[in-house]
Amino acid sequence: MRPLLLALAMLACASPVHAQRKIREAFAADPAGFVRIQNIAGSVKVTGWDRDSITITGVVYDTPNERFEIMRSAGGVKMGIWDTTVEKVPPSTLEIRVPRRSRVWVRTGSSFIFVGGVAGTVDVNSIGGGVEVTGQPHEVFAESMTGEVFLDDVRASTARLKTVTGAIRIRGSITDVIATSIGGNIVVDGAAIDRGRFESVDGDVRFMGDLMRKATLDFINHAGAVEFSLPSNVDADFAVSTYQGTLQNDFPVKQHQANSKIKGSEITFSLGTGGAQVNVRTFKGRIIVRAGK
């Protein structure tokens, strides 16, 4: 019996103890203050509301070295736990309501992040968790290494989106977008964008839907494809350059070889009466322009 007890005691000492706690806090807050949240694993849901107060509910795990803390100050509130000494942290779930004009900053390890209904700047960053933003934030900065970054029906002036291998999906109406990835696909699905730059190295970039008449959109890819699914009555001017890639254009329009002196292809063509300026550059990725209905 003694060896068993000894083994159990040793096991207890070897494993970090994670103390579970339920959180339920509410306090008055600056209507346009900052809210900074850190959570390693689990989920963080931030929702803007029309009250000058913050509520925090959820279940958190303290580690042997750190406690989940909420620190209030004149400009806003910081909360979270970021103990990098513990290998596996149990998932903490946080649901936070913030004044609509708050400036929200969230950083997580593997936690999923959702931010909705916030009108201030949203700055969210995860290593492995997905990120979803909806509503009308002033600006969005969203980044995940392996998780998906999804702007769902977002209306914003600026969006800066980055992933390493995670996909990026954009829906909504955004004045100025820059979306970059290394291996993740970038999908723009029914979004109204005035200025956009979409860059990948290995992932595919897909644009589906209509183009704003005065839009300027740049698509850059090294090895991945750049694909467009456009309505048949779209008005746009295309400038396509590829070194080793190919161009497949389903629209029955005349194409012009812009520069015959260089290797590869530089092709321009107009769809409809022209309008939106679309610039596509790939090294060896194929370029496909499909005509929808």
């Binding site: 960053n125 291998t165 290995d202 290797k263």
Partner: protein, 217 residues
């Protein structure tokens, strides 16, 4: 005397401390000239930063000017008294140094990197080298700096994150090498110059992202 940490001083200057913590900092600064001086410096820096414009719009003509420069044929500036041969040798040395720096930078994270390198037997003309080195010179030092900062903090990253960063840097390196070799073969191509720049930008992105996850709130 224990001095106040940088984080706390920054929070003090940013007015982010609770009233109690703020009072404690004020009391300490009343007795500690060194911390009082640090507060003054931070306050002055904050004021100067506040005076800076939040964003600067480039002049409307900038894109056309950049495009014109990219499209213009490359001219090789040869200084009087320096032979083209000397210049070409210097360019080769510069490229070799630049490539060596890239190799060293990448090897500090992984040993088996396939870094963009020049085939010595096929060293192209100086104009071609200039096209590549002009682009690389803008990025190498920034990459080097970020890499060193990241190496110093890598213990704060999970092993799988380090692995992810390394494997994606390899993907980018392959893309950079392809764009680089293509640009050496075709130095007047604006598309290839763009692809090379884009490759280095993505490399900076990955390093910056990884670095961001080592910084505490």
């Amino acid at each position: 005397m224990n001095h106040i940490s940088d984080i706390q001083l920054n929070d003090y200057v940013d007015n982010d401390l609770s009233p109690d913590a703020r009072a404690a900092v004020q009391q300490h600064c009343a007795e500690c000239a060194e911390c009082a001086q640090r507060v003054e410096r931070l306050g002055s820096l904050r004021l100067r930063l506040a005076e800076l414009p939040r964003s600067i719009e480039p002049p409307p003509s900038i894109h056309a000017e950049i495009r014109a420069q990219l499209d213009a044929p490359l001219r090789i500036p040869v200084r009087r008294g320096v032979s083209r041969r000397t210049f070409a040798t210097a360019a080769v040395v510069l490229v070799a140094l630049s490539s060596a720096t890239t190799v060293m930078v990448m090897r500090s994270m992984r040993d088996d990197v396939a870094s963009p390198t020049l085939a010595r037997d096929n060293v192209p003309g100086d104009a071609r080298l200039i096209a590549v080195t002009e682009i690389e010179s803008r990025y190498i030092s920034a990459i080097d700096e970020l890499q060193r900062a990241l190496d110093a903090q890598r213990a704060l990253l999970a092993p799988e994150t380090i692995k992810l960063v390394e494997s994606n840097l390899e993907i980018i390196d392959r893309a950079v090498a392809e764009a680089r070799n293509a640009l050496l073969a075709d130095p007047s191509s604006a598309v290839l110059a763009d692809m090379l720049r884009a490759g280095y930008e993505r490399k900076l992105d990955v390093l910056r992202s990884a670095r961001a996850h080592t910084v505490q709130m």
